[in-house]
Each structure stands twice: as C-alpha cells, then as structure tokens.
Assembly symmetry: C2
Homo-oligomer: 249 residues x 2
Amino acid sequence: MIDPLLEKLKHYTDLEKHEIRMLRAAPTQEKRLEKGDYIIKEGENPPAVHLIIDGWACRCKMLSDGREQVMGYLIKGDLCDLHVTLLSRMDHSIRAMTTTTVGMVPEESINRIIEDFPRLARALFWSLMVDEAIARHWILNVGLRSAEARVAHLFCELLVRFQVAGLIKGNTLEMPMTQANLGEALSLTPVHINRVLQRLRQKGLIILARKELTVVDPEGLKEVAEFDAVYLHLDKRLVNHKGELINKK
Amino acid sequence: MIDPLLEKLKHYTDLEKHEIRMLRAAPTQEKRLEKGDYIIKEGENPPAVHLIIDGWACRCKMLSDGREQVMGYLIKGDLCDLHVTLLSRMDHSIRAMTTTTVGMVPEESINRIIEDFPRLARALFWSLMVDEAIARHWILNVGLRSAEARVAHLFCELLVRFQVAGLIKGNTLEMPMTQANLGEALSLTPVHINRVLQRLRQKGLIILARKELTVVDPEGLKEVAEFDAVYLHLDKRLVNHKGELINKK
DNA sequence: CGATGGGTTGAGCTTGATCAAACACTGTGG
DNA sequence: CCACAGTGTTTGATCAAGCTCAACCCATCG
C-alpha cells in the first residue's frame, strides 16, 4: 500500500532492504474519498500523514470572499501533509479532485524514520524540498507569465511529473479538472482559460478533450512556457546531462 | 556565529546542551557581501549551506526576457540553501539586498545532524516546512489578492517575522528595498506600487519613508491584507490560543 | 425528456501596465 | 558652496490583458 511512496523515494536514493521493510511494516490504513471530498481541512491536526495511493488531489486555500487558489496538485506517491508531524495545524486544505485512495501513515512511523533511519529521513527531506521548489516556481508562473505561458507551463509540469512517476508512457494523460479548476490553479477566469486553450490547440501544441490531455508538440509547448525541468529535481538516472528526460524502455 | 540559527530553531524546540555544542562546533566561515551581490546563483552547487547572519537577501529567478520574480525574503537566522545538501543544483538565485554577512556551514555538518542528532534534524525539517508554507502563501498573495492587499500582506508578514525573530521591538522596521524591488516580489510595476503605497499612507495604515516602515495601524493593515499568521507556524510560546502574537517583555 | 454541469462566444469594462516626463534626495568633484 | 550625475519617487496620459456578465450550446444522466 505504501509502494507508491517507495517508488517515489527510489528516485532519490536506492533504498536498502531494511528500510523498505520498515516502510512496508508501517500500519497504513486506507481510505477512499469521492471527488470534492476534503482529505484534510485548514486548521486540522490529524494524527496521521496522508499518502496519495491513487487519484488526484490539490492543495487549496479559500479567501473570505469565496475565491479559491489551488497551490499545487498531488498525484500517486505524494505525501499530503508531512507538515502535521511538526507544525501545529494545516494552513491550507487538501481536496480530492477524483475518486481518490489515500493511505494513512501514523505519525509515529514518521518519527521513527527521523530517529532511526537517517537515509529514509534524507529521502523525506528531499521530497519536501522538491515540493518547496515546485511551490516557488508556481509563484513565478502566476506572477510573471502571460496567461498562455502559464497554462502551457502547468501542462509541461504535469506531463513530466506523470512521466517520471511512471504513470504514463507517451504524452497523454488523464486530466480530471474542469476549465474552472484550471483557473483556480493559474489565477485566471474560466472564460479566459477557455480562450487560451483554444489558442494552444490552434497552434497544434495540445489536444484536450473529454478529460484527456495530449501534448502534441512537447518542444513547442516548453518553448511558449519557458519550461525548464530543473526545478523538479528529477532522479539523476532519468535525465541526461542537459536535464532532459531520457526515454527508458 | 551560528547563533542566529540557534535562536530560530529554539522557536521550534528547546535544544539540549550537546545539540547546541554540536552546532556551535560546526566550522562556519563568514563572508561579507555587498548590496546586489549574489550569495548563490541558479545552477550552482556550493559545498556549504549559507546562513544569513546579518542583513537582507532574497530568493529570485529571472525569465529570459529579463524580468525577475522575487520568491521570498531571507532575514537573520534563515538558511538560504539547505537544498544543495540533497538536490543537485540551485533552481533559483539568492541575492543580497543590503550589505550582508553570511555564514557557511559545511555540508558534512548538516549530514551529521541528520544522522546523529534527530532532534536537530527535526528542527531543520520544521524550518523547511515553514519556508514551504511561506512560499505557498506567496502564491495566494500574487494570485488572488488585489494590488493593495498584496502590499499590505507582505508588510504584515515582514512585521511579524521581524517581531518573532526579536529583531525589532515596536512596529518599525528597516526596509532597504526600493519600490521597484517590491514590485518584483509582488508582481506589480514600480509605478503601481507607488500609487498603492500612497493609498495605504492616506488610509493611515503605514508610514514608509527613508528606508523605514512603520505600521501605524497593524489591525487595519491585517484587515485589508486578510492576513492570518497561521501560515508562519510561530513558536507556540509566542502566540495565544487565537494565534495572535503575545508581547513578551 | 428536462435538468444539470461544463464548454464556448460576444460585448463592454477595470485593473494594472506602459511610456514619458518631472521631481527629490544624495553624494561627488570642482 | 554649487553643479552634476545618479538613483529613486511621483504624476499624468494612454493602452491592453484579462475580468465580468450574459447568453447559448452540447453532452450526459436520471
């Protein structure tokens, strides 16, 4: 059940047998959530860390006027709230965007990792820092880029993350979110997202229909997005010296 | 020399003698930088972690068209690049905004902490997560808030961070950055920053002149900013049950 | 079949950008 | 002490990207 996390941490370091055993032995309870359900809400302090086993979720936070900002997407293998082991309470919420299965890793397991499994602790550190880097670059995206580049950048990020996670083989991925959802993540109105998507389609960069995104021209898309995957800090075994993704067969 | 870091970590946990000794024993070399110098540049992989001992710095990243986004401010006691101990290279740069003194903590010291000082490791985890939370909320700020609320929010954040770090007593702090700098952080043009500042002054919320910011009406400023300090995950000993800062004498 | 949720289109508006010029402050050298 | 250069702030006029509001279309589903 904890295997998606193992897969992810393996990108950082080769885990040893006893470390894998330790993680596997952690008493993870599973929970199934429907689209729209909150995995954790702002202000809560749950006794376990949630791991996405399957499905999509997003970090989000609402302002008093009801408008919501999505601050990141979570996919298979991502930890939602390592936070709660150390910080008092959640400062944002996490919501399922599809039917989602989460695993709940008790806080003590995390504590044991930090105390007795320094290599695992290091791997957790690593995943935290990647999350932080992604968050920082989201600032860049929302702050500096045009609407078109913003959408393109998000698509590039998702494509690479899915490829690295081994969830897709080609350039096609499931995209459960509506145009309004995209707007929440990119700080654009649904109407404008719609127009931008049309432009990207016209340029022959993407196909997006019936909840499925195909990146037709990855290089072209990266160009309009000014996308540089360095910030995702990919597994060194998966990228070449120029930081480009190697196609493992 | 490493004391500003100690001060900061103490907000998370009471450190034990041998932990303090260990940190103090780390062979930190000091370095002095002038305004505008880069502490680390994107793409580099320095052999040591930089700690701000005195002065202001910012995380920043430039787009190909020359426009720059500031993704966070660093003050006394902040670690610039824990990243490099685990990630391959910097995905953004760090620039001194004033004359700044940094300490360089060798990578091995960090590694030893993770391996042999779990409580210190935990404290580092904590500071990383706070940084991440700040970055996430910066997304909110740039993405969702109006220009006026954005400026107000940044000022609130800085005020609280300086108060918590014990760098100021009242509501006045040094603000070395120009209006253009503020614009880079908030994704607004210098001209617009100027007009917003005038409005905040007119409302009697702030005084900002000759590199010095005084928050005249903290409550009012928090209101226009919709500021909620939860995301800064302050020392529990410094906040009351409602998350408000307690004035320690 | 109607209802519902999402996608698409159009018209007009607003926030903040752009461009350009003037002004204020600081420090320098004559 | 003044001229000046340089950096930062202020003001005004114009412009555009993206927002708002409103209608309409289309697919899916009970």
